[in-house]
């Protein structure tokens, strides 16, 4: 299949995507023949029960892993033709991530955690942008605090700032409210969609949270590795 023109075609496209792992009892199918296309600016929720393959699908769509079979296009590039380093170069500055466990670096302050992807992307205005995004998520006063000194909700706000700071084209979020209580989770959802709308990014998220899934323009539901 020839690479699509990114102006006309989806920013993420999967065709007959399958993922299998070898176990002691033989081959285990995690995903089977997934077909998917996400347009620029779209918000997509991937839902399903535990073990349905949601996080596996997210990892493949983000280029963090390679499928056992099928084709995958990300930002106009055929990921099957790229090795891990090439996929990393593709991600740099163009893709943001938000994780269930926040994944902030414990030795860095709140500001420095936001600064990190900006430095990696070689942005000359890294510091200014990091400060802007820290203020944007309402934590300017906590710039010098490390993750240990922040609550779960505050850490996830920092993570959101980090994900959007590089003006990414796509943000992938894996259970962003999974480790938060309901109230905090609701505030994070609000902030996520507010930031997404103002940044015009494509948002693809995995969630159990019905409220979060309902906020997305589209949702796909996985059952035993297949799109239901």
């Amino acid at each position: 299949m020839t690479p699509p023109d990114s102006a006309q075609f989806p920013v993420v496209a999967a065709h007959a995507l399958s993922q299998r792992v070898n176990t002691a009892d033989g081959s285990l199918v995690i995903l089977s023949e997934v077909e998917l296309a996400v347009k620029a600016g779209e918000t997509l929720a991937i839902t399903g029960a535990s073990g349905s393959g949601k996080s596996t699908l997210l990892g493949l769509l983000a280029g963090l892993d390679q499928p056992s079979s099928g084709e995958l296009f990300l930002l106009g590039q055929n990921l099957n033709a790229l090795d891990e380093d090439a996929r990393a170069r593709l991600r740099a500055g163009r893709i943001g991530f938000v994780f269930q466990s926040f994944q902030l670096l414990p030795a860095l302050t709140a500001l420095e955690n936001i600064l990190l992807p900006l430095e990696l992307a070689g942005r000359s205005d890294a510091h200014a942008r990091a400060t802007h995004w820290l203020t944007r998520v309402g934590l300017a006063a906590r710039a010098g605090h490390t993750p240990r000194q922040l609550s779960g909700g505050e850490q996830q706000r920092i993570a959101l700032a980090r994900a959007f700071a590089t003006d990414p084209e796509i943000v992938f979020a894996d259970e962003p409210t999974g480790n938060l209580d309901a109230d905090t989770g609701a505030r994070i959802i609000e902030l996520l969609f507010e930031l997404n709308a103002s940044a015009h990014t494509t948002l693809i998220l995995v969630t159990h949270d019905e409220a979060l899934a309902a906020r997305c323009q589209r949702r796909i539901h996985l059952v035993a590795g297949r799109v239901a």
């Binding site: 996080s55 983000a62 963090l64 891990e84 990393a88 991530f97 994780f99 240990r148």
Partner: protein, 824 residues
Amino acid sequence: MNFVRLGLWLLRRERASGEWRVLLLALIIGVGSVATTGFLGDRLKRAMSEQGASFLGADLLVSSPRPITRWPQHTLTTSSAIEFTSMVAKGDAFQLATLRAVDAAYPLRGSVRIAARPFEPGTARPAQPPPGAIYVDASLLPLLNAQVGDRVQIGETHFTIAGVVAEEPGQLGGVFGLAPRVFLRADAVAQTRVLQPGSRVSYLYQFAGDAQPLAAFSAALKPTLDSTQRLIGSREGVETLRGAFVNADRYIQLTALISLLLSVAAIAIAAHRHALRHYDQAALLRCMGATTAQLRTLYAVQLLTLGLLGSLLGVAIGAAMQHVLALMLLPDAAARLPALGAAPVGAAMVSGLLALAGASLPALMRLIRVSPLRVLRRELPPLPLAAWISMTVSGSALLMLIAWYAGDARLVGVFVGALTGLVGVLILLARLALLGGRLVQRMSHGPLRFGLAQLLRHRFDSTVQLGAFTLALFLVALLALVRSDLIASWRAQLPPDAPNYFLVNIAPQQQAAVASFLTQHRLQASALYPMVRGRLVSKNGSPIAATLPPESRNNPSLRRELNLTWTATLPANNTVLAGHWHGERRAAAEISVESGMAEQLNLVVGDTLGFQVGDQTLTARISSIRSVKWDSMQPNFFVIFAPGQLDALPASSIASVHVPAGKASVLPRFVKAFPGITVLALDKLIANIEAVFAQIIGAIQLLLGFLLAAGMAVVIATLLASLDARQQEAVLLRTLGAQRAYLAKSLWSEFIALGLLAGLLASACAEIAMALIAHRLFELPVRLHPWLWLALPTAGALLVGTSGWLTTRHITRVPPMQSIRALN
């Protein structure tokens, strides 16, 4: 993005991390150890090289046990001296000294500095004292209770001490010199009447001049010299000394290397934990777009920065410690050694970086193989590194390190083999000790029981900690035992009436008077043995060197004159192993040869040996080979002639005598009555050797201090590696109701028990090693050292207990909720 800058930035932010601190500490200790010996060794080598001709006091030196009267033609400047040992006496005090009788030209190169008082720098002047005077080494003054200006007696002559020798060519003093030096005039020797036929004298002839005449003279002279005479150029002389020193230096450096290798263990553990705790970071950076090469740069820069910092700090510590070491080994010469050189800095830095590479590269290689998918699946381990790659990387780096220090393949093999064997034995002993700990654990209660259970639960860590600390304590203890015990044990097994003085240089006309003196004072002496000096020149008619393989031609028996004696009676401490004792037989010239010499020179009963005695050549047939108990404190000889062949030659005699402590006052009277006879106080000689021994051992113990510190670094590194697990256990216990005091007591119990076990193991190993050394090497009785079994476990408990507590105490203080959040 500049990943070098990013790596340094992240490193700065993580500088408080425990793993980095332990890694840095371990590197500082290891590099400090090798830098200490490296600096000192370099200073000594450069002292010998840079002094060059001034080290010898000439451009060429010829030493001979006999006067040389004929020389090839030359136009060189010359000087001559003779060197011998004799008693120097003042009042009731007397001391063996090395006398060098010099002419007005000595030294031809370099300078002698004479001071009015000890420890002053003095002024440069000819070494020949004024008539009636001598210059002495500062160490002689307190031994004689004398000062500059006092009169002392040498032989039958009195001299005034005119000054103290502050500096002379080639003198390093300290552990390199035993009998203090005295300079006297060459023309004053005859009047002392010290020198007798058979006296051991070195004739020293010095030459100085331009390179071409020196080379011509040297080439013409060499063929005329025999094996007991030596021609030493300033370069060769220095090289000869350097050669002997380089060998000793190599072994000392290998001792220091053990500390560095133990530090490698601590670094490896710390690096492994660091990598483990950074898998998430590496995965996150990959998510954000970092490639493998970029990650490699980032983490390599961090490692290199730590490596350079740790090595630099280690070098700084080494520079300070080498100063202490120099003062311990060479108290008189330390201040005169050249300044610190740059070469050891480079060597120590490279050692540190190699050690760091060997210890941490496998962990680093795993770190950069982390998949970005780990951000979604935290249980995902990095791609496994093939074990052979890990071992090749680490092994190559460490082998390069060992090879560099060992210098040759054989020594590398021996060192690696010995270390591997030792580590294997220690691991086995540690496992057995832990099994024993299980028994104690079952019998105990409360925090002690819990603490011991921890020890057994973290079995791998406990084995590593126990092994490392036992090694360090064992080596320190063994040296302490050798230092305090070896000579004392040897002395203790001597019979109470064993001779403690040698009387040397007894002239024939003095024999009756000496015997009468001893009888009068009821002193028990050995038989008087006449002695002439002769050189072994042939075996069965052929030059002896030609009959030997090349590696045996440097045998000491061929390079110096032997003391030859004759007697009909087999000496008391000799046993005939082959042939028959010659007894009174005078029909043919027969000799008895000592078994060690016979083995080294391939001699058997029936061989005929030729000796050059003065200007006579004598041959004799070997009729027996005997063993000699060299530590019997009796005069002992490699070669004993049957009576008849040497009787007519001018000879002096030697005897040994036992002087009880209560009769020591007899000796000054003896020295006054017989001033030409050298009275060798064996107690003093042994005490001198003991002191030198103690100095060397003390210096090595200083180096082993690094080993103890490295052992503690290993303990701390392993504790840090288990800190998360310990914290989880502490959280659980506190949630279940355990108080802080309970946790604290259990931690103390665990670490004190570990230290006690290490001390007990080290005591057992040291006792066994010491028993083997004493019994197998020195044939001394084996004895136990009860103090060791108290001292080592106490030291272990204190050191391990304290370092363990300081590393882990905070887990008892953090509230459970905070710990749970931190662990999540």
